[in-house]
């Protein structure tokens, strides 16, 4: 499998990244190297191996439905690039 130039641009768009021409080339190469490396897995016979959705074999980790204290609004808004007294403020969406 080869990653095309168009795919790199598409992935960059989805990640909200602006890439220069040079970077597109660099990432295309690097992505292909990663995929080539992963190709090694295809040399193994996995016919009888069940697919794994999680690397650790634990299951059913729950919390009970209890309300814990939330953080203060002041703390919540502290790291926001922009905010009002009450809300997070972002560039206009619609």
């Amino acid at each position: 499998m080869k990653v095309s130039r168009e795919q790199v641009i598409h992935i960059a768009e989805l990640a909200h990244l602006k890439l220069t021409e040079e970077e597109i080339e660099v990432f295309q190469n690097e992505m292909n190297q990663i995929l080539e490396y992963m190709e090694m897995l295809n040399e193994l016979n996995t016919t009888y191996v069940e697919s794994l959705s999680h690397p650790i074999e634990v299951k059913n980790v729950f919390r009970e439905d209890k309300v814990d204290e939330s953080i203060s609004r002041e703390e919540a808004l502290k790291n926001a690039p922009d905010s009002t007294e009450e809300y997070f403020k972002v560039p206009k969406v619609i």
């Binding site: 439905d65 609004r73 560039p91």
Partner: protein, 483 residues
């Protein structure tokens, strides 16, 4: 609608679960709190935090699966749905994709064309996003209180054929989630939301037409209106030899119009992958059995049982079972009286009227079921008349008390003693000679006038059946004497 076409509709229904805390953290789910006060590092998507699944949310989702005849997957996993939108601080929504909690169910609905089964493809668990407030100049404001509140998404197969059927299906789902106690079903506040996929095709055609997605229909009425509009729009396009474009449309209820969503907003490529922060979910037989016991009697079954047990008209049953709490109230009343129809009548006319006027719920209704039953029994054993019963009912509304106490205190016991009534009626007739003559000359309408006079005289306490009987006897005696 053009008779040559049929529409094909599938629904996606989101229901907010009535848990106390969010799906993956302990923040409160309470609606209407000041903005950004029900938040913590987990639901704000800070780096390095770990989501932990709310057990009750899983049980609620399974309850819905059982109620809609789904298969509950023994193993299911969570997935990340990746997209950028400011109401989603992590940059992805934790949802379920390849292996949802519940699959392959169905719900039977009553339609004009008889009972129809609508297949349910899946029910999965996911987290809600925050709330955006637009129209703030060059900015959008975000409140993350809702972010992380548990939702189930119910996805149907394209088995629905008309907007009315879609409305019926949605209202049945709404009734079920409320019966199950897993969602309050409030569409105006957004705790129940519905999107639809809709396409049209010529009747007899088996291939599906190009579908559009209709969003922003926040009531059952709007679902019916929006779908009717979209179906007509698609048919008009096809009739003009134009093609339907696959797109997402937003319904504007004020203008009764559909506006396409900007293409940029729908160009999604979600790149789902298994959520590495959450381990696999295993649901064994024992747990399913436990949850099955929590399901209780569902609306369809309750309606059947009411028919068999109480033999009430369908109309009554439909109203009495609208809400589980209504049915419970009714059944408590009939624990104390065998007059089912009167119990139903009182509920449908008087009680519902007051609940609607005061926007109150039945569990806060001041008259307790056994008191209403006692009132019905007082009418049936002729202690009071139906008219007086209304008066007693109003007294009980003002101040919760036994109806018999009211009757005794206000001296409202019905006068059924014939001797007293004969004397009274004679007096009324003597006093109204003119009307008596009118009656005898054939104007029988004045009969009601006499009854009214007698009732006024007794402050409504005269037994109307006996009054009618005696009055008729007296008047026909006078008639004979006159001839």
């Amino acid at each position: 609608m053009n008779k040559r076409y049929e529409s094909v509709i599938g629904l996606e229904i989101h229901a907010q679960l009535l848990t106390e805390s969010k799906l993956f953290c302990g923040c409160s789910t309470k609606f209407g709190n000041p903005p950004n006060t029900n938040v913590c590092p987990v639901c704000l998507g800070h780096p390095g935090v770990l989501p932990v699944l709310n057990k009750k949310a899983v049980e609620f989702a399974i309850r819905m699966g059982i109620a809609t005849n789904c298969k509950i997957n023994q193993y299911s996993i969570f997935a990340r749905k990746n997209y950028f939108y400011p109401d989603l601080p992590k940059g992805y929504q934790i949802s379920q994709y390849e292996v949802p909690l519940c699959i392959d169910g169905y719900l039977e609905i009553e339609t004009k064309a008889g009972r129809r089964s609508v297949r349910i493809k899946r029910i999965h668990l996911e987290e809600d996003a925050g709330k955006s407030i637009h129209d703030q100049g060059n900015f959008t404001l975000i409140d993350y209180n809702r972010c992380g509140v548990p939702l189930i998404e119910i996805v149907t197969a394209p088995d629905i054929r008309t907007p009315e059927e879609a409305g019926k299906f949605l209202s049945d789902i709404r009734q079920i989630v409320k019966y199950l106690g897993i969602c309050d079903g409030n569409m105006e506040e957004g705790s129940l939301r519905c999107d639809a996929n809709v396409s049209v095709r010529l009747k007899g055609e088996s291939k599906l037409g190009t579908k559009t997605e209709v969003k922003n229909m926040n009531s059952i009425k709007n679902v019916i209106n929006a779908l009717s509009l979209e179906i007509q729009r698609q048919i008009d396009l096809l009739e003009n030899n134009e093609s339907v474009k696959q797109q997402t449309l937003l319904y504007n209820a004020d203008l009764h119009s559909l506006e396409p969503m900007r293409t940029k907003e729908e160009s999604h490529d979600y790149r789902y992958f298994p959520e590495p922060d959450l381990p696999i979910l295993e649901i064994n037989e024992e747990w399913i059995n436990e949850i099955t016991c929590q399901v209780g009697e569902l609306p369809a079954h309750k309606k059947l049982r009411f028919k068999q047990q109480y033999n009430l008209p369908d109309y009554d049953i439909e109203i009495l079972t609208t809400e589980k709490e209504y049915a419970d109230y009714f059944e408590e009343v009939v624990n104390f009286t065998s007059d089912y129809k009167s119990a139903s009548n009182w509920f449908m006319t008087e009680i519902l009227k007051i609940l609607n006027e005061k926007k109150n719920s039945i569990d806060r209704f001041p008259i307790k079921p056994e008191m209403l039953a006692e009132l019905i029994n007082l009418v049936n054993n002729q202690t009071i008349s139906g008219k007086i019963a209304k008066e007693v009912f109003n007294e009980m509304l003002e101040e919760p008390q036994s109806p018999y106490e009211v009757v005794k205190r206000k001296n409202l016991i019905q006068i059924s003693d014939e001797n007293i009534l004969i004397e009274l009626i004679q007096r009324v007739l003597d006093r109204n000679q003119k009307q008596v003559e009118q009656y005898l000359s054939g104007k029988e309408k004045v009969f009601a006038h006499f009854v009214g006079e007698i009732m006024r005289e007794t402050k409504g306490k005269a037994n109307p059946a006996i009054v009618n009987k005696i009055l008729k006897e007296k008047l026909s005696y006078l008639k004979k004497k006159n001839q």
